[in-house]
Each structure stands twice: as C-alpha cells, then as structure tokens.
Amino acid sequence: MKFEDLNEIQLDALKEIGNVGAGNAATALSTLLNKRIDMTVPKIEILPFNEVVEIMGGADSLVAGGFLEVYGEAPMSILFAIPEKSVSLFMQILIGKEINSIEDFDEMSESVVKEVTNILSGAYLNSLGMFTNLVFEASVPALAYDMSGAIIGNVLQMYGEVSDYAFVIESVFLEADIEVKGHFFLLPEPDSLFKILERLGVS
C-alpha cells in the first residue's frame, strides 16, 4: 500500500482526520498558553521527497524540526518542521522570544519546538485513533535545527526503505494578527497505511 496509489475517497478520508486533528491541536495549544491560538490546515497533500524539500524553501534553508516515532498497531514516524523565517514568529507567539540567528535558538526554544511537536502529534493521533479505533503510542520527540535538506533527508531516509512519498499537512497558526506556517509530515509504514484505510472503510 503506497501513498501514490491512493484514490480521491481515501485522500479525502485522511484529510478529514487532519482537519479534526488541527482543531484538537488548536484547543490544546490555547489551553497550554492560556491565550487563543487558531489553527487552520489549508493544504494536505502527498508529495514526492524532492518536492518536500522544496516546500521547506530548498535544501540549504534552515528549519527547526521535531521528530518522533509512533508505536502500536499501525507504526509510523512524524516530523513537525518550521522554516527559519517562521521560527522567530513562532517563538514570539508561544514564549514572546525573538530568534534572529542560530545562536538565539537555545534550549528553551528547543523545548518549545519539542512540546509543540508533542501536542500536535497527540492531537493528530487522537483524531486518527478516534476514527480508526486503533491505539497509538508516541515516543519523546527529538529535535534538530539545521539545513532542511539534512533534516528532511534524514527523516525520509528512515522511511525511504519503503516509500518515496510523504503525507504533508500544512499547518497555519494564528494568534491575533500573527500568522505562522509549519509543516507536519506523517510517515506511516506501508502496512499501517493499509490498516488505517481498512478501519476507515475505504481500503
């Protein structure tokens, strides 16, 4: 079962899960920060690896990425990546800190990206669990702040033994008039994708 073979109905089903997940995530973030954070998911798509690097701004652009592994009946990997130009705004919204260079990206910033990866993953996995009745358990997120080619290459590589495509959920965070874009990559193992679609009744 591969992403590139999915039909419209199957894609729509996955998109719906993404939308519900985004709603959950916005609620979780707002509660954590005690202020209203809205989240929209303008785009959910299946992309080949080389285009994945392009949407992040090219292989040498900087990104902050949180990565975690998901165990259970349908194992998968998750990467949440924020382009350099969004990292500063993201920190402003979340902890009121400005990030102007890599030196400013300190332990606190790392924790923030990890925590957001945690919250978003939890929200999406809850949504996925609700629709499929499958149980997911996520690892502690690991973090990197480096060239997007290196980070995304690394993640896709762990996964590249099975596929050349990734499921990408574009996520936009809004607080008052600040808007920040991040990308959430869902990389299920091939059997997991089949299991999920089967549970959704669209296999």
């Binding site: 900087l62 690892s139 690991a142 990197a144 480096d146 060239m147 080619g149 290196a150 980070i151 690394n154």
Partner: protein, 160 residues
C-alpha cells in the same frame, strides 16, 4: 566553470575545471571519487546502507552497495583508472538527538560503515573524511584539485 548539482540518491562525474555540489547532507553520505592523474571527479549522494534490505530498490544510487558499484563504473567509463581512484567522504550525521535514540536514528553511522565496506571491496582507499556529529553539511568537490569543501552552519567551511 561548470557546477553539477547532485540531489538525494543521484550522482555525477565531471572533469577538470568543473565541480560537483550536493546541498544538505544529513545522515546521507556524499561519496567522492577522484582519479588525480586524469583529474576526473565523481560524487554520489548515498541515502541508505543496503539495497538487499529494501523493497524499494529501483534507484541504485540510493544505496551504498549498488550506488558505489555504479559510481566506480561511471568513473571508469569517463576514463578513470580504477587503480588510481581514491575516495573522500562526508556526511553520516545523526541529525536528531534524543535520549532514547533508536537504531533507526543512527542510520548515519550505518551509512558510513556501509560506504567504507563497499569502497574496500573495490580496493578504493578513503584518504580523508568528515563524518558523524549532529549537523548537516553542504559539500562541493573540485575536479582540478580533488579538494572537497565541506560547509555547515555550525562549523563554517573546511577543506578536506
């Protein structure tokens, strides 16, 4: 001067006055082969250690075993003599640091050792390397000098 770009799981061979560039090597390994007498340089952007473990192995340059076989052949077709070929390698980082790093995260190490094994099978000596650690690298290999420029956002540029 022509600059050839090599993406993930791609390769290129070039001659004097030209160079080969690959951007953003993480745990991937950039394998650079050089015949100094003919000034022929080749580079492959290797992503995974072993093609025999993979169900998805159509792209031969993705893997250390098949990728290095093909790069050595490509060097020979371009006029390089196998006995003269030497190697420089860069990459193989572990981008994500985590207290509970699983084997899958240590793929950089596995890539580096697979690359070295496969080069040894061809009798190709590794003359210098910049591998491991936790940061990404952009590398450019020059056919005129055989020098490899390794750039990272954390350590700047070094020439190996």
């Amino acid at each position: 001067m022509t600059q050839h770009k090599v993406g993930i799981a791609e390769a290129a061979v070039c001659h004097k006055n030209e160079s080969i560039l690959t951007i953003g090597l993480g745990s991937c390994v950039g394998v650079c082969l050089y015949d100094g007498t003919k000034k022929i340089a080749g580079m492959a952007h290797i992503m995974l250690p072993d093609s025999t473990n993979s169900k998805n192995n159509i792209n031969r340059y993705k893997f250390a075993d098949t990728g290095i076989d093909d790069l050595v052949s490509a060097m020979e077709r371009a006029g390089a003599s196998k006995l003269k070929i030497q190697a420089k390698i860069a990459g193989g980082a572990q981008m994500f640091t985590s207290t509970n790093a699983s084997d899958i995260m240590k793929i950089g190490d596995r890539n580096v050792s697979a690359v070295k094994n496969q080069l040894a099978k061809h009798g190709v000596r590794v003359v210098s390397e910049d591998t491991g650690h936790n940061y990404g690298r952009t590398i450019e290999f020059f056919a005129e000098s055989g020098s490899l420029h390794v750039k990272s956002i954390k350590t700047g540029v070094k020439v190996i």
